[in-house]
Symmetry: C3
C-alpha cells in the first residue's frame, strides 16, 4: 500500500511542507524509519535531531515552526498533535484484522438474541438469554456473555472475557483478553466472626470509546451501577470495585486497585500500582503518582505521590531527605554531644 | 413480591416495633429507600439521621435503643447485626438466578464422572476424568475442571475458572470468574545460573463457605496442601502461593500477594495491595494495613502498617512526621549554626 | 516405583556414600521423609540437623564434606547442587501427566494448521489460521491461539490461556492458566483531552525453557517485539508491557509490573509487587527488593530496595530509622530548647 504525502496531509488536516507526490509505504518509529516511511517528532528531544531520521516524512507540531524544524531538509507535515496524526496514519497501514463475519456453528446462543448487521461471533462464544448486540460487534473465541447484556455498535471483545448479567457496554468499546466485567463486589455483612454475602443487585455500565486492558476486573454495584464513562482507558490488571464511577478520558496504568464507592473525575491520570481507598472523590485532572496509596480525597488538578499521598512537590523534597536520614541522625547526635559539653562548661543542668 | 414486617422480623429473629401487616417490596440503601423498601442503620452515623430515610422500615441494632432510634417514628426491627439482617432479606428479594438444571450437550465430560442431583453444567464446560461433584453444583460456561477434582454441594463456579487436578473444593463455595485454583507454585532449584522446575505434588484444599473473588490464583503445594479454611473471602487479584494456610473467616482485599509456606490465622483482615513474605505466621485476628509489606511474623490481634510493617499506632505517628522532614532538616541546620556560634563564643573547638 | 541409590547417583552425576542397592520409593521434604524416601540438605541449617531426618538417603553439597555431614550415619549422595538433584529425582517419581495424544473433535482448528507428531489438543481449544506447533505440544482445554502463531516442541499451555496473533513461543515453554500473551500495549496518542489508540504492529517472542505463571499479561510491541529470553520464570500476575526485553534466566515474583520499553538483563531477581518505570535499563544480576518502585536504571549486580529505590544497604539503615522518627523529633525539640536557653544565658539573639 502506498499513499502520497498530499493525501496523508489531507487525512490528518495538516500542512505539507515538501513533495506532494512523494509516496509513503509505512509508518515507523523515528529511529527505525526508512525513506519510504513516515514518522513523527512530538517533543523537543526529537525536533532537535530532526536531520538524523531517515524517514521520508515527519509530522511536526505547529509550535515548532520557529525552531529547528525550519532548517530541516525533509518533507514535513505540520499538525497540532504529531503523535495523534501518526496514530491515525498507522491505522491506515495496519487496518484492524477482525475475524470473518458470521456466527460460528460452534457458538452457543441463548434465547431472544438480537444482533445488528455484520457481527462476528467466534467458536465457543457462550451467550445467555435476552442479549442484544449492535452492528459489527466482534466477539472473539471463548467470550462469555451472560443474560440481559447489551453491547453497542463496533465493540470488540477479545478471548476469554466474561461479561456478567445485565452489563451495559457502549459502542466502539474494546475489552482485552481475560477481563471480567460485572463480577460480584466484595461486600459482606459480619456478625463479628463470619461474613455473610451481600447480594449485588446493581450493574456495570461502560460508555462509548472505552478500552479495558487485559485481565481487568470491574465489579457490579451493590445497588445502582459501577460506571466507566466515555473514553476511559485502562492498562492490565486494573481492579475497579463496586459502585465506583470513573469520569471521561481518565487513564489507569497497570495493577491499580480502586476501592468501593469512590468517584474519580474526568481526565485523571492514575499511575501503576496505585491503591485508592473507598468512598473518596478524586477531582478532574488530578494525577496520582506511581505506587501511591490514596487515603483522602484529592482536589481538582492536584498531583499527589506517596503512601499515604501528599502533594507531589512536597513528596519530591521528602524523597531527597529519606536516603539521608542516617546522616541526619548522626548530625543530630553530634550536636547533642556539643550541647551537653556547652552545658557542662556553662554549669547548666542536663534536664 | 411482598413480605409483611411481621414475617421479616420472624425471618431474621428480630423484634418489630411498628406495623406487623405493613408490606415491604424491596430492600434498598438508606438514602435511596422508598416507603415500600426496608433498609438498615448499622452505625451511629445513620442512626443519627434515622428520620431522614424514606424507608418503610429500618433494621437497627439493640444497642441503639437508648439513643436516637427511640424517637424515630418509623417502623423499626431491632436485631443484633442490622447489616446481616439486611443481607438476609436482600437474598429473599433477589434470589440467586442459577442457570437451568442439567448437563449441556455442549459440555465435555471425562470418564468416571460422579454427580449429585440437580447440577447445572453449562456449554463448553470441560471436565476431566474421575471428577466428583455434589448436589446442586453449578458450573458456568467455560469452567475447566481437571482430573480427580472433588467439589461439595451447592458450590457455584463462574465462567472461565480453571480448577487444576486433585483440588478439593468444599460445599457452599463460590469461585468468581477468571480464577485459577491449583496452578503450579513458583518453585525452582537453581545451579546458580539456570532454574530447574520443582514438580508440585501437592494440592489445593478449599473448605466450606469460602468465596474466592475474580481473577485469583491459588497455587498447589509442593508437598501436602495449600489450604483455604472455612468462610474465607477474597477480593479480586489475590495471589496465594504454594503451601500457604489461611485460617477460617479471614478476609483479603484486592491485589494481595501471600508468599510460600506462610500461615495466616483466623479472622485476619488483609487490606488491599498487601504483600506477605514467605514462611511467616500471622496471628488470629491480626490486621494488615493497606499496601503494607509484611517482612516478619505478626502476633495475635496485632494491627500493623507500613513497608516493612510496624505497629499501626507507631506508623500513624511516623506518617505525621514524614511530610515534615524538610522542616525538620531545616530546623536541624539552624540549630547546628547556633551551636557553632556558641562554640565560637566560648572558644570551644568544632570537633 | 523403586530406584536404587546407585541408579539415583548415576542419574544426577553424584557420588554415593552408602548402600548402592538401597531402594528408594519417593522424594519428600526433609522433615517428612521416611526411610523409603530421598530428601536433600541444601543449606547449613539442614546440614546441621542431618541426623534428624528419617530419610533413606540425603543429597548433600560437596562443599559440606568437611563438616557435619561426614559424621552422619545416613546414605548420602554428594552433588554440586542438592536441590537441583532433588528436583530431577522428583520428576522421576512424579512424571508429568499430560493429556491423551490427539486432536479433540471438540477443538476448532483454522486453515493451514501445521503440527508436529504426538501433539495433544484438548476440547474447546480454538486455533486460528496459519498456526504452526511443534512435536509433543500440549494445549489444554480452552486455550485460544490466534492467527500466525508459532509454538516450539514440547511446549505445554494450560487452560484459558490466550495467545494473540503472530506470537512466537519457543520450545519447552510452560504457560500456566489464565495468562494472556500478545494483548495490545497501553499506548495512546493524546490531543490533551481524548486518547487515540496507537495500533500495535509488533509481536511477543518467548524463547525456549521459559515458564510463565498463572494470569500473566505480556503485551505485544508497538513496533518490533516484546522479548522474553531463554529460561525466564515468572510467578502469577506479572505484567510485562510493550517493547520490554527480559534477559535469560531472570525471575519475577508475583504482582510485578514492568513498564514499556524497559530492558531487564540476565539473571535478575525481581521480588514481589515491584514496579519498574519505563525506558530503564536493569543490569545483569541486579536484585530488586519487595515492593520497590524502580524509577531510575539499575547497574549490573546492584541490589536495590525502596520506592523510589536506593542501594539495599542504605535502605536497611534508613528502615531502622523510620520507626524512630518520633523519637528523633522529640530529641531535636529538646536540643532546640537547650540551645535557646544557652543563647539566653550568653546574651545571644535567637535569629
Amino acid at each position: 500500500m502506498e499513499i502520497t504525502l498530499a493525501d496523508i496531509a489531507r487525512k490528518v488536516g495538516g500542512e505539507l511542507r515538501g513533495e506532494p507526490q512523494k509516496r509513503i509505504r509505512n509508518a515507523a518509529p523515528f529511529d527505525q524509519a526508512t525513506s519510504e516511511d513516515i514518522t513523527f517528532a512530538g517533543s523537543a528531544k526529537f525536533l532537535k535531531k530532526l536531520n538524523l531520521t531517515k524517514a521520508g516524512a515527519v509530522f511536526i507540531p505547529g509550535s515548532s515552526l520557529s525552531g529547528d524544524a525550519l532548517t530541516a531538509t525533509q518533507n514535513l507535515i505540520v499538525v497540532e498533535h504529531p503523535q495523534v496524526a501518526f496514530a491515525r496514519i498507522l491505522n491506515i497501514f495496519y487496518p484492524s484484522s477482525k475475524p470473518a463475519i458470521g456466527i460460528s456453528q460452534k457458538a452457543a446462543i441463548g434465547k431472544n438474541f438480537t444482533s445488528g448487521l455484520d457481527v462476528s461471533i467466534a467458536p465457543f462464544v457462550a451467550i445467555g438469554n435476552d442479549v442484544k448486540i449492535g452492528t459489527r460487534v466482534c466477539l472473539h473465541p471463548h467470550v462469555v456473555i451472560e443474560d440481559h447484556v447489551v453491547i453497542g455498535n463496533d465493540t470488540e471483545i477479545f478471548p476469554n472475557v466474561t461479561i456478567h448479567k445485565c452489563s451495559e457496554i457502549g459502542a466502539h468499546v474494546i475489552i482485552q483478553s481475560g477481563t471480567v466485567i460485572g463480577s460480584d463486589g466484595f461486600g459482606y455483612a459480619t456478625d463479628g466472626n463470619q461474613y455473610i454475602k451481600i447480594r449485588h443487585t446493581g450493574i456495570v455500565q461502560i460508555d462509548d470509546d472505552v478500552e479495558i486492558g487485559a485481565c481487568n476486573t470491574i465489579d457490579r454495584a451493590t445497588f445502582g451501577k459501577t460506571w466507566i464513562q466515555q473514553g476511559v482507558k485502562t492498562d492490565n490488571f486494573v481492579h475497579i470495585a463496586h459502585n465506583v464511577t470513573v469520569g471521561a478520558n481518565t487513564v489507569f496504568a497497570a495493577l491499580v486497585g480502586v476501592s468501593g464507592s469512590t468517584t474519580i473525575g474526568r481526565n485523571v491520570i492514575v499511575a501503576g500500582q496505585v491503591g485508592v481507598s473507598d468512598h473518596l472523590k478524586i477531582g478532574n485532572g488530578a494525577i496520582l503518582g506511581p505506587q501511591s496509596g490514596i487515603a483522602q480525597s484529592v482536589g481538582k488538578g492536584q498531583v499527589v505521590s506517596g503512601s499515604p499521598e501528599m502533594p507531589h512537590r512536597l513528596w519530591l523534597r521528602v524523597q531527597r531527605i529519606i536516603p539521608r536520614l542516617p546522616l541526619l541522625r548522626k548530625k543530630l547526635s553530634a550536636i547533642e554531644k556539643k550541647v551537653n559539653k556547652i552545658e557542662n562548661k556553662l554549669g547548666l543542668s542536663h534536664d
